[in-house]
């Protein structure tokens, strides 16, 4: 019982949960508006991680500033990808339908390309920066300052995005497209421009997550896949296209992973994670917080 009440466990759940939520937000945004399953999401995280690593070692940028650079860089990459490849395709209905139907395969190709470009450029050796490695004590809680930064920045970014969806016209447009794409176009929403903003935002958030990951872990070219998987599990939990759902789902997964393991056994960690994932897909494919689809 002591174990379950330990503030350490809560902090760990929060660190994991925040990262998961942030990862899922970007992925879900792109799926929600464009119906594209970006399996290369983890590679954007990897690129964000490398931006922070190189910017802070070569250019001696402060990791905070480097993380902002990582987010901006990833956002630019998103805009470039959208502008150069997807936008022209949007004009051809048939091609876009094919892209949508096979987005998983296409982005798998993208992911393989990005991984191996990174391996060619940076070698496979893992690299890490040493940053904020002192321990902060809050009451009886001890937490690494770097992990505290992850919680604060991550949650701030998540809530910032949610506020943007609720309060701005861009957010309104995004939500409209997620709910009724065809109707959104009819009421005069510029779909192409909104989608470009979505790509910038989705990639940017992934780049930010990469920057945060680089603060607490090593970066390497093949680090992305587990993050993609985690993000997928979360958006299934929260519901595909449900943005608030991915925040709640991310935190929930963090809790399941830390407390589920504490309650049962560490050896069940992956079985638990994939078990929850499969159960939700089979029983409530619209997600825990999604509305039942109209047939």
């Amino acid at each position: 019982m002591d174990l379950l009440l330990s503030p350490q466990l809560l902090a760990s759940a929060l660190v994991l949960g925040t990262l998961y939520a942030l990862l899922a937000l970007g992925l879900n945004l792109i799926y929600g508006t464009m119906r594209l399953l970006n399996i290369a999401h983890g590679e954007i995280v990897m690129i964000g991680g490398y931006v922070v690593y190189w910017a802070s070692t070569l250019l001696s940028l402060h990791p905070f500033i480097a993380t902002i650079a990582a987010a901006l860089g990833a956002a630019l990459l998103g805009v470039a990808l959208f502008g150069s490849v997807l936008r022209p395709m949007l004009r051809s209905g048939e091609l876009m339908a094919r892209v949508e139907a096979n987005s998983l395969l296409i982005f798998f190709g993208v992911s393989v390309i990005l991984q191996n470009l990174a391996a060619l450029a940076f070698t496979a050796s893992p690299r890490g920066i040493s940053f904020l490695d002192e321990i902060v004590e809050i009451g009886t809680l001890r937490i690494g300052a770097d992990r505290l930064v992850v919680i604060i920045v991550g949650l701030a970014a998540c809530f910032g995005c949610l506020a943007l969806f609720r309060l701005t016209t861009l957010g309104l447009a995004i939500r409209a497209i997620i709910q009724q794409r065809d109707a959104a176009a009819l009421v005069g929403i510029d779909i192409a421009r909104t989608n470009m903003a979505v790509f910038a935002l989705g990639f940017g958030v992934a780049g930010l997550a990469g920057g945060l990951v680089a603060m607490i872990e090593q970066v390497s070219p093949f680090m992305g896949f587990p993050y993609t998987i985690a993000a997928f599990i979360v958006i299934i939990l929260g519901g595909l296209g449900n943005l608030t759902g991915s925040l709640v789902g991310g935190l929930l997964l963090g809790v399941v992973e830390t407390y589920g393991v504490a309650l049962t056994s560490a050896s069940y960690r992956s079985i638990l994670l994939y078990g929850v994932f499969i159960a939700i897909l089979l029983i409530r494919p619209e997600g825990l917080f999604g509305k039942r689809r109209q047939r």
């Binding site: 466990l9 391996a119 321990i135």
Partner: protein, 392 residues
């Protein structure tokens, strides 16, 4: 790419060889091996590849490998196995039958050593292994592969119980990653601790991919464990270090299985890694091992980071053994097999002789990081420094 970075060193040394001796006129000795350049072993295999390259450049600088009284330059024939077992098997088959190499060196790790045993047996091709460690290697039929490591799980377990018992620790937390090497150590250490009457306060295994072990650490903390065995591979070892510090683990004995002897570990944790105990049977500070210090210095100077005390040393040793066996027996496989099986070899890890497939001379030891260097601390008769509990 890795290979290119090290090519510089190789070219520089072969240029010296060219001008300083007549060896260049000789036909080269071709040595084949597969390297995990991509895939899951890619980051780990660097330790081995670098040691091979260093050995090659040193031998070529001396004029080449001594074969039947003549020095012949060494040439490597290398393929990427993508960390895939099937690829490794294919590569060794074609190294033997199509490239027709003169000698073979080992691939990386237990997972790739075992698959090629069948190929070596079929073609009766002797290979000195290096980076494999498993109790199962005792079951491999002797004759075509030898394992110079003494860090075998059952023996490591026995040493751990010794050091824990003799230092009076009584409450042990064991956490093991569910991968072969760590799990084998776990399987031997838990019953050995029980037999010794030592209380095990945490006893858990966890799957690869786990990114939080706080729950186990808090349990260990609450149970006031004075000895912690983190049976982990490099990635999870880093996680242990970070989260143990966060939880505030102050156990005087902390053992981390794989990772502490690799350069990046000390780079990340610096002083914070001091006191960590790990496996290994080598230290540059043993004066009675000729060449140990020189190997450390040459390696560090060539690559810009220190060697892995375990894998780089084993890889280098395996080439030293091969070199001496070839000097005695030439390139004939049967003669070579006989020479390796019966000979005693002077290596950077002292004298080595084999009994069956195993190293019969080097005792199993434990290392401890002290002031950024790994010192042998156990057993005391082999030690280069005294064991120092953390926090004293």
């Amino acid at each position: 790419m890795k290979a290119e970075r090290f090519l510089g060193a190789a070219i520089a040394t072969s240029a010296i060889a060219l001008t300083s001796s007549l060896a260049a006129a000789q036909e080269p000795v071709r040595i084949g091996y597969s390297i995990s350049q991509t895939g899951i072993f890619a980051d780990a295999a660097v330790s081995q590849q670098t040691a091979y390259e260093l050995w090659q450049s040193e031998v070529n600088a001396e004029g080449g490998l001594l074969v039947d009284g003549e020095r012949r330059p060494v040439e490597f024939v290398v393929y990427d196995d993508q960390s895939d077992q099937g690829q490794a098997v294919r590569i060794y088959e074609s190294l033997i039958t199509d490239d027709e190499v003169d000698l073979l060196a080992a691939p990386w790790g237990t997972a790739l050593h075992f698959p090629i045993v069948g190929v070596l047996e079929r073609y009766q091709f002797p290979v000195v292994g290096n980076t494999a460690a498993s109790v199962q290697l005792q079951e491999v039929a002797p004759g075509n592969i030898w394992f110079p490591t003494s860090a075998i799980p059952d023996r490591i377990a026995a040493r751990l119980v010794e050091i824990i018992q003799e230092n009076g620790y009584s409450r042990v937390a064991v956490m093991a990653l569910q991968l072969p090497f760590s799990l084998e150590v776990y399987e031997y250490v838990v019953p050995a601790l029980e037999d010794a009457g030592i209380e095990i306060v945490v006893d858990e295994t966890f799957p690869p991919g786990t990114n939080d072990i706080t729950a186990m650490l808090v349990q260990a903390q609450n149970a006031q464990a004075d000895a912690i065995l983190s049976l982990t591979y490099p990635g999870e070892s880093v996680m242990y270090m970070n989260q143990a510090r966060e939880v505030g683990i102050e156990a005087p004995f902390q053992f981390v299985l794989v990772g502490p002897t690799i350069a990046f570990f000390s780079q990340i944790f610096g002083e914070g890694a001091n006191g960590i105990v790990t496996i290994g049977h080598w230290s540059p500070n043993r004066d009675d091992w000729p060449g140990a210090r020189a190997f450390f210095d040459n390696y560090t100077e060539t690559f810009g980071f220190p060697p892995d005390y375990l894998d780089s040393v084993l890889a280098y040793m395996s080439m030293e053994i091969l070199e001496q066996a070839v000097a005695e027996a030439g390139l004939d496989h049967d003669a070579l097999r006989e020479a390796i099986s019966t000979g005693t070899f002077q290596t950077i890890n002292g004298d080595i002789a084999f009994d069956g497939v195993q190293n019969a001379t080097t005792p199993t030891m434990l290392l401890q990081l002290q002031g950024g260097v790994a010192e042998i601390v156990w057993p005391p008769v082999e030690a280069t420094a005294d064991y120092q509990p953390i926090g004293e």
